[in-house]
Amino acid sequence: MEKSDVLTFAGRRFRSRLIVGTGKYPDYLSMQRAHDASGAEIVTVAVRRVNLDRTQESLLDYIDTKRYTLLPNTAGCYTAEEAIKTAILAREVGLSDLVKLEVIGDQRTLFPDNEELLKATRVLVKEGFVVLPYTNDDPVMAKKLEDAGAGAVMPLGAPIGSGLGIRNPYNIKIILETARVPVIVDAGVGTASDAAIAMELGCDGVLMNTGIAGAKDPVAMAEAMRHAVLAGRLAYLAGRIPKKLYATASSPLEGMIE
């Protein structure tokens, strides 16, 4: 693999194509170890009221901001307005001008409300944010988000936390064919092969949280995901053999023993 195979968006370069989250870990220490094992360089965080009970530990004590790029998300937002307000507050903290834009349309599936998502993307792009929108696998939507100035498009593999993997690789492949910004699968990854499959399709990266944090051994799973993303990327760049209905023998027919 060339040394120049890096993930780039909005003028930033990253060696790791795996983006991880901070939610649902048993504790901050295992989160920190999992981040380390994953090799990730970008970590998503939620934007919330500060905990006034000072006996509680603080998340940022466990994330070295010199090592990791923070990617604030707008989790919990159901309207463009809420998401925009959250993104603006997140930027005010002064640690990141990236935003993982989530505008949720339904509480059970946590599928995006694409109409509100597009609205919010346009506003935030104008405000100078690097917007990474969490969307579904609709190529038409992906193009609209790209045209609206998104720094990448992030189609879901399956519902958040469902672990169902890449449910519609065909649509994601179509998105990959026409996208001129990075395509990062976000949501639904359950185990290593899911991440590898996303990368083998040609995706530029994979974002996951529950797949690692919810595993029995998050640190081990983080390491597995690191390998999976690397393997999938290498396999994609290596150019796989075509799928055939019938066998083609690998050994020559001459010189057979009679």
Binding site: T22, T44, R49, L95, G161, A187, N209, T210
Partner: protein
């Protein structure tokens, strides 16, 4: 004086500045964003921002989490 901090009533020193309040709460100003009565307060103005009774203050930071 009483103001509303992160949705809850709270007693703070009369005439306290935002900086003083953050200090009192042991909050690192470099890790938060502050909204006072629905307007964002720029960090360089924390020191000169004096709180008044009934002010609605939101102190926001990054927490663990994603989809909720």
């Amino acid at each position: 004086m009483e103001l509303i901090l992160n949705g809850k009533k709270r007693e703070v020193t009369d005439g306290a500045s935002l900086t003083a309040l953050l200090n009192e709460l042991n909050i690192n100003p470099l890790r938060v964003a502050v909204q006072l009565n629905l307007e964002i307060v720029k960090r360089e103005r924390y020191n000169e921002t004096v709180l008044k009774p009934g002010d609605r203050l939101e102190i926001i930071t990054f927490m663990a989490g994603g989809a909720e």
